[in-house]
């Protein structure tokens, strides 16, 4: 006595494909199943992805430090570790109430971000966190290396990098790109060690204290430039603007002055 027509699901399937009800319900069902699949995958895999990213950033910081001549020895002497400090970008001092463990929670609060004016926003970020985690390498009382994480806007999207400055706060010791979405083979070559090799030794400011660093179009000329990448002008400009913004007064400027005054 099983009458298929009493089952609403069968009745629905038996509808002609062209009926409006079936079209709408099919569209909804497909969308719902797909949404479930996509969100399921994202939620389930997120912890693994986050762990991957953290491990990779750590590996890049280590590679950056190891790649700087003489740093491996210095690191040995200082006990093999960099000290990590969360700083308040506004005054350039170590943050009082935020530590490395609470940094993520602090940055989740929009109150801890500063909106940037269009004029000052060289790196095209829109807003900037008030706290940043930096890495220091000390030799006795003096600071011999500072690693400054920075973010900028490239051609394909955000570029995250870590810039290493020597103790004089004016000479670049190296750069590591932690994440980017530039075109592979063109802007993506910012990942290449051969391109990054032109950073060490480059100076940031001239004698009058003016910020001079930029990425050249073509080969570098002068002590303040690094080589450009052919076919990736906008990526190069993105890197220039990123470094110029973060080393300027809205970025790590106050911190750099504080280190120069010997407050760290």
């Amino acid at each position: 006595m099983a009458d298929p027509d009493r089952n609403p699901w069968r009745r629905f399937l038996a509808l002609p494909n062209e009926s409006r009800t079936k079209t709408l319900v099919m569209a909804f069902l497909v969308a719902a199943v797909c949404a479930l699949m996509v969100s399921g995958a994202t939620v389930l895999l997120r912890p693994i992805q986050a762990a991957n990213r953290a491990a990779e950033e750590q590996a890049r910081i280590e590679a950056l430090v190891r790649g700087i001549p003489g740093m491996a020895d210095l690191l040995e002497q200082s006990g093999g570790t960099l000290s990590t400090v969360v700083i308040d970008l506004d005054d350039g001092r170590a943050a009082q109430d935020v530590t490395t463990d609470t940094l993520d929670t602090a940055l989740a609060d929009t109150g801890n971000w500063t909106a940037l004016d269009a004029g000052a926003d060289l790196a095209d970020l829109g807003q900037r966190p008030d706290y940043a985690q930096i890495f220091l390498l000390r030799q006795g009382d003096a600071i011999s290396l500072v690693l400054l994480p920075m973010t900028g806007q490239g051609y394909g999207g955000r570029i995250d990098a870590i810039l290493a400055l020597e103790g004089d706060m004016n000479t670049i010791a190296g750069i590591a790109i932690t994440s980017h979405s530039e075109t592979p083979g063109l802007g993506g070559r910012i990942e290449d060690p051969s391109w990054q090799a032109s950073f060490p030794g480059t100076e940031i400011r001239d004698d009058s204290g003016e910020l001079r660093f930029n990425v050249a179009r073509g080969d570098a000329s002068g002590p303040y430039q690094v080589d450009g990448i052919t076919g990736a002008t906008r990526t190069g400009r993105g890197i220039s603007n990123m470094v110029r913004f973060w080393l300027g007064s809205d970025g790590y400027g106050p911190l750099i002055r504080a280190i120069e005054r010997g407050e760290f």
Binding site: K22, A27, V30, T42, Q49, S181
Partner: protein, 221 residues
């Protein structure tokens, strides 16, 4: 639908004779972009084959109930969701390679090959033949991408799968890498060369010329 379904023919037909890349010139965008090294080419091939096969099975399962008016949207939504899932899996378990592929995994969605197969085959066939056909086409794509990737990596860097095969002059060997091989144009040359080679062996693939050049181009006086 053919009277009898022959697994072997359906599977091997798209390898050379009906190759989606060299005969139908489908999906060449990614074939150009991801072939700078074998490792990325292999990952891309596997991802595409998986997406293609799964989407063919899914679409074939609901093929009798896809309203004609929204069939392309339904197919694209299914393909796009599968691509996102694959992308997330790659990011989680193969993060190195996922970075090298960057946006091209996402672009599998717009790869004409996937929609082409679901639209032309999976929509009219049972899940099993559809899966075999999709898998065969995935293999055909993989074959071309791997050949091009192998040639580009070998001559561009002197490596295969990142393993130094030809000793570079920098390292005291005799091989000077061809920088051109790592740039996009070389993939065009290689793909063109492959199409030419395959069509010389199988002349029935040659298309009829669309225009006949005029016999005499001198202006009449």
């Amino acid at each position: 639908m053919p009277a009898r379904f022959d697994i072997w023919t359906t599977l091997t037909e798209p390898l050379i004779r009906q190759n989606p890349v060299t005969l139908q010139i489908l999906g060449i965008c990614s074939a150009l972009a991801v072939t700078t090294s074998l490792a990325t080419a292999l990952t891309m091939s596997v991802s595409l084959t998986v997406v293609l096969t799964l989407s063919a099975i899914l679409i074939s399962l609901i093929r009798r109930h896809i309203p004609d008016t929204i069939r392309l949207i339904v197919q694209i939504v299914i393909v796009a969701s599968l691509v996102i899932v694959i992308d997330q899996v790659l990011q989680a378990y193969l993060s190195e390679i996922s970075r090298a592929l960057s946006i091209y995994v996402g672009l599998i969605t717009t790869n004409c090959l996937v929609l082409g197969r679901t639209e032309a085959y999976a929509r009219h066939h049972a899940p099993f033949p559809a899966a075999v056909d999709a898998f065969g086409n995935g293999l055909g794509y993989s074959l071309i991408v791997l050949v091009i990737g192998g040639v580009r990596e070998l001559f561009g860097r002197g490596q295969l799968f990142g393993w130094q095969v030809l000793p570079l002059t920098d390292a005291g060997g005799w091989f000077t890498p061809l920088g051109l091989m790592l740039l996009a144009p070389s993939a065009f040359f290689l793909l063109g060369g492959l199409v030419w080679a395959i069509r010389s062996v199988q002349p029935e693939q040659v298309e009829a010329p669309e225009h006949v050049p005029p016999a005499d181009v001198r202006p009449a006086e």
